[in-house]
């Protein structure tokens, strides 16, 4: 078996199978349970695409493009309320083409279920962010109350 980086594997094979690590893209991609098909970049990523990019730590992150910016892409995990900041264009190395949940394959360009999910992620962002803010505030109030006792 040859030693390849993800970039080299994508250049060699065009598409690779990978396992997501972490929970930032749940519920779509479950940590180490689902599998995903990553493809090399053949077009400019669009809003809603899930892209693989080299992050500031030197590792790779797979998050969704929320907005195209002049110098790159604003990205965020589906299970996150904060964005990652702007990912430079040259840092993007691949794009999510589809994923398997068990044996069932979802094609990101054609699956109706996936398109519905993407719409849900977009529409639910503000309510989720508000709920997260409320939870943080309640937590802070509880800590202050506990300290006063």
């Amino acid at each position: 078996m040859d030693d390849f980086s993800i970039e080299e594997a994508l250049a060699e094979y065009g598409r690779i199978l990978e396992v997501p690590a972490g929970r930032s893209m749940e519920p779509m991609l479950r940590d180490r349970r689902d599998t995903m098909v990553l493809a090399g970049l053949k077009r400019e990523p669009r809003r809603g695409d899930v892209v693989l990019f080299r992050d500031r730590s030197g590792g790779h992150t797979l998050h969704r493009v929320i907005k195209k910016k002049k110098d790159g892409y604003l990205t965020r995990g589906d299970n996150c309320v904060r964005s990652d900041g702007v990912c430079p264009r040259e840092a993007v190395v691949g794009i999510l083409e589809g994923f398997y949940k068990g044996e069932k394959y979802y094609d990101c360009s054609s699956s109706p279920a996936y398109k519905l999910y993407v719409a849900y992620v977009r529409l639910s962002y503000l309510p989720r962010r508000a709920a997260n803010g409320a939870r943080s505030l309640l937590k802070k109030l509880k800590i202050r109350t506990d300290e006063k006792r």
């Binding site: 078996m1 390849f4 594997a9 094979y13 065009g14 598409r15 690779i16 199978l17 990978e18 396992v19 690590a21 180490r32 349970r33 599998t35 098909v37 493809a39 083409e97 398997y100 394959y105």
Partner: protein, 88 residues
């Protein structure tokens, strides 16, 4: 013998690839590319099998000689062993 890790075997753009899943994905983070025969052998190795059993099943599936089947199995298993993917 069997595979040391749990793998998901999936079709990817006309090819077949396998990756370790679950807790095993921390222990093996490589990508295994399989042709049709290798896929059959790989999937058999999800359970405890002997080389002879694998050869026998290949002879049922494919029109090959026993010598060719045994050679293919032996070579592929040696390759998997060299990558630390087989446990006895």
């Amino acid at each position: 013998m069997k595979l040391k890790y749990q793998f998901a075997v999936r079709e990817v753009g006309g090819s077949v690839m396998a990756v370790a899943v679950g807790a095993d994905s921390d222990k093996f983070n490589g990508l295994v590319k399989l042709n049709e025969v290798a896929r059959s052998i790989f999937e058999m190795l999800a359970d405890d099998v002997t080389e002879e059993e694998i050869v026998s099943r290949l002879l049922d599936e494919y029109e090959v000689s026993e010598e060719d089947a045994a050679g293919a199995v032996s070579g592929f298993i040696a390759k998997l062993r060299s990558e630390g993917l087989i446990e006895d």
